[in-house]
């Protein structure tokens, strides 16, 4: 990417502040996707430790029983729930579901695709992720 192209780059792509909740959802979707991919790789490494026998397996499990391990798992729960719920919203949108119908636009223009159904979907995904995270915290730290 050369300077001449004047691309916004990753900083512009990741900036969620300028275009409303839809852009925030886009950003959270990407971030949670990358986070879950990282967790998936770590999870494969974690479960492969069973090859080291019971002692090796127990040693690794102890790592997840720490404060840092619990916080990490709580974030994974939130990412998982948000990515699932918002993913369903996005997939429906990609099929043309809930994006409105073409119509002659009247000023002031309001884009039909950015409608309340999708906004409810985004807020629901955030809310459910928060609830799941709190439940996870209660289970892990409530022992």
């Amino acid at each position: 990417m050369t300077r001449d192209e004047n691309k916004e780059g990753i900083r512009g792509m990741a900036n969620p502040g300028r275009y409303g909740i839809e852009r925030v959802a886009y950003w959270l979707m990407r971030l949670s996707g990358l986070g879950l991919l990282a967790y998936f790789v770590a999870h494969i490494y974690e479960t492969s430790n069973i090859l080291r026998g019971k002692v090796g397996w127990d040693e690794l499990l102890e790592m997840t029983q720490t404060m840092e391990g619990h916080i990490l798992l709580t974030i994974v729960i939130a990412m998982c729930v948000f990515h699932t719920v918002n993913g369903i919203r996005v997939m429906l949108g990609h099929g043309g579901v809930g994006v409105g119908r073409p119509a002659r636009p009247d000023y002031p223009y309001k884009s039909a695709s950015q409608n309340y159904r999708h906004k409810i979907g985004i807020y629901s995904a955030i809310l459910l992720a928060a609830v799941a995270m709190m439940y996870g915290l209660a289970v892990m730290f409530g022992e």
Partner: protein
């Protein structure tokens, strides 16, 4: 001589009332000479109806004539004066200073477009992708030879695409798109919305060839429905809707 009179008349025109003023921060950059962008501040008087373009032209007329800006119609029809205004892509002629609710108005060239100089950007790539999707009615017969003399459409059929025919090719949607921010090869929301405009037109028979063009790794599948394109469109085109409906054809939800 007539030209000189014209210039004299323009200079004698009523100046903007100095009752209120803002600081106009203009991005200055010449790729041929400058290493990086710099901003120049100008105090510009304005009224409730003053647009950002008028403020820039006021700077050009009275303070610094070297500011490079592209404009033409001054009424949101030609799509020439797209730029980043306080961090968001907008048409300068369609944005009033009073609606920005800020004492400092920062204008920069549109993101994701190569800079010619200052606020003027190159549109070659946008026109290239626009042409790529075949922005015209495709069919073998012609209404000039047909017995009916014209291809009739019902109001319902017109409604399927008329919204997307409002596109003025200003490039604001491409500037706001998060995929365009990183992917130089992405066809972009402007071209994709225009692809839908022709696919949805009942007179058009080129659906298959257009879908083939956009069914590409840097085509329609790179759109992640962030919706920023629709939020910045000054003509109510709603490219995000067009793209999702277009994807419906590729996924088999629509015929």
């Amino acid at each position: 001589m007539a030209q000189l009179v014209g210039i004299a008349n323009e200079q004698a025109s009523t100046p903007l009332s100095p009752s209120k003023s803002i600081t106009l921060r203009i991005s200055r950059f010449n790729p041929g000479h400058d290493e990086s962008r710099k901003f120049m501040d100008f105090a510009v008087p304005y009224e409730n109806w003053t647009t950002v373009l008028e403020a820039i032209l006021e700077v050009k007329k009275h303070l610094d004539h070297s500011v490079a800006v592209r404009y033409s119609c001054r009424q949101a029809t030609c799509g020439s004066c797209g730029m980043m205004i306080n961090g968001r892509p907008r048409l300068a002629c369609f944005t009033k200073i009073s609606e920005l609710d800020s004492d400092v108005v920062t204008v920069e060239p549109m993101n994701n477009f190569p800079i010619i100089r200052d606020l003027a950007v190159k549109f070659e790539r946008l026109f290239e992708t626009h042409q790529k999707i075949k922005p015209y009615i495709i069919r073998e017969d012609t209404e000039l030879e047909s017995d009916e003399r014209e291809f009739l459409q019902s109001p319902k059929e017109v409604e399927q695409y008329i919204q997307f025919a409002n596109c003025i090719k200003c490039g604001l949607c491409n500037s706001a798109c998060p995929t365009m921010a990183t992917d130089s090869s992405f066809v972009g929301p402007q071209a994709l919305a225009q692809a839908y405009r022709y696919v949805a037109d009942s007179r058009d028979k080129g659906k298959d060839s257009r879908l083939k063009i956009i069914d590409d790794s840097h085509g329609i599948w790179r759109c992640h429905f962030a919706g920023s394109c629709s939020q910045v469109c000054p003509k109510g085109v709603d490219p995000a809707m067009g793209i999702q409906l277009l994807r419906g054809y590729l996924l088999g939800f629509k015929d």
